[in-house]
């Protein structure tokens, strides 16, 4: 899709975003610091800003564009069921409500009063409400921030499956880089009202700039193997090595996990010589200084890339340099 959006938000801040993605991109993630204009971008796309102008080839004048707000904005005078019924009533086409209730884990919440819901419950209902409204495009503004990790993963996985199945395009704004890495096809990075970088997820993650070193993740993926009942974990193959995860994201037989550089340690020993379950043999590609006496080590094997954030002292003690073969270890998540 091609996107051009501009809006004068205030005297100091103008939104001027331009973006172009590949045709097969269905999920676009948007990230950036606070105040970068991410929410404004979504509001403009949702037609909520009369003074704005935008063109987006994902949308046509008749597109129904749903928006899940950061504050949920559930109607306080209706209970949960009432909110959902109202959304269904104005839906363009019928949707499978019970499938959506289940996927968003809202079934138990139907009788509840909106004002007594917790933050996470409210967000689930808000997402559910947007989906039963059968949008063509769905915009999400920090829509999972209040949910606990396991729940958030489950709901986002459902969202991806559901939207792919029904051809709903999604633009997702989030601070959770891990979620963006797992569930989006392409990412865009915003700053000061502009989109400064965009591209497929792998490309964006691999070309991380130094000021983002703290916030980046790596994605490791590969064919999923059979679930290990005895140990309750899922093994998968990555670069011909077996890695493990509790609940990886599996799509079309491919398992995907994200790895935070701060969780990665490097040693020179053999693959299985540690209690840390995941050991990934790879090569050091580059070392780059990072904040607070740390070093960001870029590791790779085959198509996969990984980062490790270790202390400068460790790096010099191990005499790490590009070309070394090491084992990157990260605990089971």
């Amino acid at each position: 899709m091609k996107l051009i959006a501009s809006l004068k938000v205030s005297t100091d801040f103008t939104l001027d975003a331009q973006l172009s993605t590949n045709d097969d991109c269905q999920f676009l993630g948007v990230m950036g610091p606070s105040g970068a204009g991410k929410s404004s971008l979504l509001r403009v796309l949702a037609n909520l800003e009369p003074a704005s102008s935008y063109q987006c080839s994902w949308t046509s004048p008749s597109s129904r564009i749903g928006l899940v707000f950061q504050d949920s904005l559930l109607f306080p005078h209706l209970d949960v069921a009432g909110n959902l019924a109202l959304a269904q009533r104005y839906a363009k086409s019928n949707s499978d409500a019970s499938e959506i209730f289940q996927g968003c884990q809202c079934e138990a919440l139907l009788e509840r009063q909106v004002t007594y819901l917790s933050g996470g419950e409210r967000q689930r209902v808000a997402l559910c409400r947007a989906l039963v409204n059968s949008p063509d495009i769905l915009l999400l503004d920090e829509a999972f921030s209040a949910m606990d990790n396991a729940l958030s993963q489950q709901v986002q996985q459902f969202l991806r499956r559901y939207c792919l199945k029904h051809g709903i395009n999604v633009i997702m704004v989030s601070h959770d880089i891990s979620a963006l890495a797992l569930y989006c096809d392409e990412l865009a990075s915003m700053k000061g009202g502009r989109i400064i970088r965009s591209g497929p997820v792998n490309q964006m993650l691999n070309n991380v700039t130094s000021d983002q070193a703290e916030n980046t993740v790596a994605v490791l993926s590969g064919p999923a193997l059979e679930f290990d009942e005895a140990h309750q974990i899922t093994p998968f193959l990555c670069e011909d090595q077996v890695l493990y995860a509790r609940h990886p994201f599996v799509e079309d037989g491919q398992a995907k996990i994200t790895v935070d550089p701060r969780d990665v340690s490097i040693d020179l020993a053999q693959q299985h010589a540690s209690s840390i379950l995941n050991g990934f043999t790879c090569e050091v590609r580059a070392l780059r200084p990072a904040a607070a006496g740390q070093v960001l080590v870029r590791l790779a094997r085959g198509q996969s890339q990984l980062f490790a954030l270790i202390s400068e002292l460790s790096a010099s003690r191990m005499k790490l340099q590009a070309g070394d073969t090491v084992t990157a270890r990260f605990k089971l998540r």
Binding site: R43, A46, L73, D79, A130
Partner: protein, 226 residues
């Protein structure tokens, strides 16, 4: 004066109160909505003007209405031309006077309601594909329902008690402009205290019942408000 006249006074008062209440709502709703959303330095000026009838002595208001409704002045003349009837001393004159007199009682509660209303709920409704009318119907109206009831009720109660304005522009015509408060005053002046008591009790009783019903109905819908 007979007790037939007394009953007429009661019915007339109710008619005046209900008609004024209904008309004022129609007029005050868009006014309050616009005021609540307006950002301008002129806003305090307009709010003060709207609140004027609260502090203006009713007889002052009534006196200027008397001048304004006279057949040789603008409004009176226009009315005569439009309807062929004299405006002063008619029920319509009372309605017009009451609209002005009770204006702040209708506008203030609605203004408060609209101010408290988070306009982002309308954004949410828009994203769900609701038309403007649907948004007013499903979001705005339910959320301001208590304020709406209070506006209507206060207007009605206030108009029932209206005296000073009617005294100036009514002309005390039984069945047309002799409302309850005027009839009561007449009875007191004529030393007919028993009838005065009866009417006062009726007035008091009715106002009390109305206000009670009002507050009962306007309890906030479950979960509304912060």
């Amino acid at each position: 004066m007979s007790s037939v006249d007394d009953w007429q006074a009661v019915i007339l008062t109710l008619q005046l109160a209900l008609i004024t209440g209904g008309l004022l709502l129609i007029f005050a709703l868009p006014l309050a909505w616009w005021l609540a959303g307006w950002r301008s330095r002129m806003k305090t000026l307009v709010l003060a003007i709207v609140a004027l009838p609260l502090v203006l002595p009713p007889t002052v208001l009534g006196f200027y209405l008397l001048l304004a409704f006279a057949p040789d002045s603008g409004i009176g003349e226009a009315w005569q031309w439009l309807t062929g009837e004299q405006l002063a001393f008619s029920f319509s004159a009372l309605v017009l006077g009451s609209l002005l007199y009770s204006l702040p009682f209708a506008v203030q509660p609605l203004y408060t309601g609209f101010e408290q209303l988070d306009r982002r709920y309308l954004d949410a409704a828009a994203t769900l594909g609701m038309s403007r009318i649907a948004r007013y119907r499903h979001v705005v109206f339910p959320l301001i329902r208590p304020h709406l009831l209070i506006a209507f009720g206060l207007t009605v109660a206030h108009t029932i008690g209206e005296f000073g304005v009617v005294l100036m522009i009514g002309g005390n015509i039984p069945g047309e402009t002799q409302v309850l408060s005027i009839a009561l005053y007449d009875h007191v002046e004529a030393l007919d205290y028993p009838r005065a008591h009866a009417m006062a009790l009726a007035l008091l009783g009715f106002s009390f019942v109305l206000l009670m019903a009002l507050y009962q109905l306007s309890r906030k819908p479950r979960g509304a408000g912060a």
